[in-house]
Assembly symmetry: C2
Homo-oligomer: 169 residues x 2
């Protein structure tokens, strides 16, 4: 694993996209997090430009090696899926253009990895995010959801490394 | 209307994205068209990078002022809508980043504008595209669909200009 391994987690939404960068080594800690909120007055193409530009700036500022994005399998209908897909397209594009390895995780997998329960609520997920990153103040739910995706990726990598090392954790 | 008005039409797909540039003034003619086909061996983020890069290159090469994109309202299900949304996100982003005005048209509106029948088949649409642009050789359907979106936009602009001019066409 790299000396300074950082993961960018992203929770995409058409009106609010949470992001969070966690550093994995030498110790697990929060680097930065935020929410991208393109104004409702913008049309869709301009919202995408803003999401792409802000995420590109986040990557440049905090230099993660990996992007982990929530995979929104269960959108309510085809129309909302289509709109959400546009935002995810701009997000995945920003990551791939910056040379990051991009992984996608369904919400249930993220919840399971953080709390041991694939049906956990957002508050419970936030509680575990705060616990793992030793946060004192509760972040907004859009940010804790993004940090949860980054931590789910970290958990999986840690488990895979333990398996490679021959078993025990 | 600008001395040299060009419209870029785009028909998005997750595996094949047709594009076509038509020049509107001084006379209606085909400038260029093609199909972007990211290989199936690429993962989704890399497909998006390719679509975005190729479309950005098309815009730089042919200098359209406007982008008209087919609006895929009737995707079969939420999952296919989501995937298609990613491709459309990369496409709209490329247009907006290049400063193009971006318009979206549902398939039925495009068919209606080209053939007078909102239920027309792709071959009938292609026939009218060839007729309007005076093409001798039939383009692939992905390209004729993209050119049809550009021509639908042109038809609407032409109609609006006629209205502004005080009536008759």
């Amino acid at each position: 694993m790299a000396a300074r391994m950082r993961i960018l987690g992203v929770d995409p939404g058409s009106h609010a996209t949470g992001w969070g960068v966690v550093q994995v080594t030498p110790a697990l800690r929060l680097v930065a997090s935020g929410v991208i909120r393109p104004g409702h007055e913008l049309n869709l193409p301009d919202r995408l430009v803003l999401i792409h530009a802000e995420l590109t700036a986040v990557i440049a500022a905090h230099a993660p090696q990996v992007m982990a994005v929530e995979d929104l399998f269960n959108a309510r209908n085809a129309r909302s899926s289509l709109i959400l897909g546009h935002a995810r397209g701009a997000i995945l594009l920003a990551g791939a253009q910056a040379g990051l390895a991009v992984s996608e995780y369904p919400p249930g997998t993220v919840k399971q990895a953080l709390t041991g329960n694939g049906q956990a609520g957002k508050e419970q997920v936030r509680f575990m995010v705060m616990r793992l990153l030793q946060l004192v103040d509760a972040p907004p739910l859009d940010e804790s959801d993004a940090l949860a995706v980054a931590l789910a990726h970290q958990g999986r990598q840690r488990f895979a490394a333990a398996l490679r090392a021959g078993g025990g954790r």
